[in-house]
């Protein structure tokens, strides 16, 4: 089985802080990480590889620095890593990004594509389903479990707000995966050694099956009109008091608000 896993390098948004004076983002020193849901997707691919044997290719689109993240994927157990990196991809929204990735996928042999549910920097959850549509593949999102059946189909648990849907998918498909369902393994020592002997292939736009006009900014229907720091609410009162006094304060407020 050939599996493609889509991964993205993202800033660790939990580490981003706001300058309280200027109200701007402090990005300095914020570490770059493999997007958590994508890492969950890689873990699922590696579990399928452990159980049934598979060739796992990780792909990413981004600047050359994403090389580090792809080496981490190799050290975890991926077999091949390809980075799409080209100025022509710059300014891509989710439609143009998914289109570029579809051009890469079309040049590879695959039976299954796995992506993360969403990336923590954009939180759109759009690239997976958009990629599936470009490739004409069925999609299953919010995947919490996937097993290969005897007949070659996949049995999948999709997590909804009010239920878990158990689905059976026939033939090639694309899954988007929840990090919380797949606790990712660590890199192994031998994996780390091997990762540095393996090559991270860097591909330009010329190497994939795409029309140039549909890439990057010109291929993006959505544009950022403006961005601004979020207006923060005025802080209220804060008290450092004994538990007894705290209870008193809270009860009085709840009465004032007619909650009790």
């Amino acid at each position: 089985m050939n599996i493609i896993v889509c991964v993205k390098q993202v800033p660790d948004t939990t580490e981003i802080k706001i300058d309280p004076v200027k109200g701007t983002l402090i990005r300095d020193g914020v570490p770059s990480i493999m997007n958590p849901d994508d890492k969950g997707g890689l873990e699922l691919a590696l579990r399928l590889k452990d159980a049934h044997g598979a060739h796992v290719t990780v792909i990413s689109m981004g600047p050359p620095q994403a090389d580090v993240m792809l080496r981490e994927a190799l050290a975890m157990g991926a077999d091949r890593a390809i980075l799409l990196s080209d100025r022509k991809f710059a300014g891509a929204d989710t439609l143009a990004t998914s289109y570029a990735l579809s051009g890469l996928c079309r040049t590879l042999d695959y039976d299954l594509i796995i992506a993360g549910r969403q990336a923590i920097d954009g939180d759109t959850a759009q690239v997976g389903p958009e990629l599936a549509e470009h490739l004409g593949l069925p999609q299953i999102t919010y995947v919490a479990d996937a097993k290969l059946l005897e007949n070659g189909n996949l049995l999948i648990h999709k997590e909804n707000e009010d239920s878990v849907q158990v689905l059976e998918a026939e033939g090639k498909c694309l899954l988007t995966v929840l990090a919380s369902a797949f606790d990712a393994r660590y890199m192994s020592v031998s994996g780390i050694m091997e990762a540095y002997n393996k090559e991270v292939e860097v591909w330009s736009a010329d190497k994939i099956d795409v029309e140039e006009g549909k890439l990057g900014l010109s291929g993006s229907p959505t544009k950022v009109f403006r961005s601004f720091p979020k207006a923060m609410k005025e802080p209220g009162e804060v008290h450092e008091v004994t538990p007894e006094e705290a209870v008193e304060l809270i009860v009085n407020k709840l009465k004032e608000k007619h909650i009790i």
Binding site: T13, G122, E133
Partner: protein, 338 residues
Amino acid sequence: MEKKDYKNVFVFAEQREGVIQPVAFELLGKARDLADVLEEKVVAMFLGYGIKDKAQELIEHGADEVIVVDTPELKDFLSEQYSQAVSQIILDRKPHIVLYGATTIGRDLAPRLASRLKTGLTADCTKLEIQPVKEEEKEFCMTRPAFGGNLMATIVCPDNRPQMSTVRPGVMQKMQRDPNRQGVITVFEPKFDTSKFKVKVVETIKADKSIADISEAKILVSGGRGVHDKEGFDKLQALADVLGGQVASSRAMVDNGVMPHECQVGQTGKTVRPNLYMACGISGAIQHLAGIEESDFIIAINKDKFAPIFSVADLGIVGDLHKIVPMLTERIRKEMEK
């Protein structure tokens, strides 16, 4: 494509097992505002099986027209079946704007359609408005949080139609239901290409009914890392019980398996807008704050006086929740008995 051919504000009116989801009414409320500014109509797309009797409810919540697709293929939500039906409606009717709920259904369907229709989609919008962008030219402006809620971005989709966005449940206000509102119900019959139906439902396992939807709750007692464990959450549950509220959780306590995902508040969980939000042992990561900012009143209890949660709390208590919460529960129980 002629932009002027695209008219009216469409809403994908989500139902589950025949029950119209609250987010559908919220979207109709917003669609009503937008359509009034544009001098266009509000059209609900209502898909499922055995649902057509409920279409009138959508009219009473602001739709001028409801397009009903009522067919066995659409009994359960499946991406391909729903994508075929909705894309055929959109190609036929050419909407100006299409809104979807940012649920596991809307966030599956909308990007699939954006890719099929080659148009733009903006996820998880918190504000939708028709605004001038330069001189006299007005655009549909879709504002959403980015970078985990650290930044807001206003997105436009100037050249492609329809312009589409998803909106999370609890963000928009539904309009007052008006039983006298009049509207048109249109039946649409899609032509399915069944050869593309490659995914089937084996079974549906209902989530525990005891977990009510926190995005609908009026009172939430929410816990974070400071609650430590299940026993800690039992204390929060006792407080929620005396207040007639529900328990919610930060992401940390969902990721470590203490609480189920349905209880998660924040950017990757649910947006809540209760009358009272009590944050216990929650430091207040920006992603969490993004999900609670619509709350009427926020009380925070945290040991760390520098915790960011205090910057949004209306009443902040620096102290040990494990002492305060049980005492508070007892005290409120007594107050209620009075």
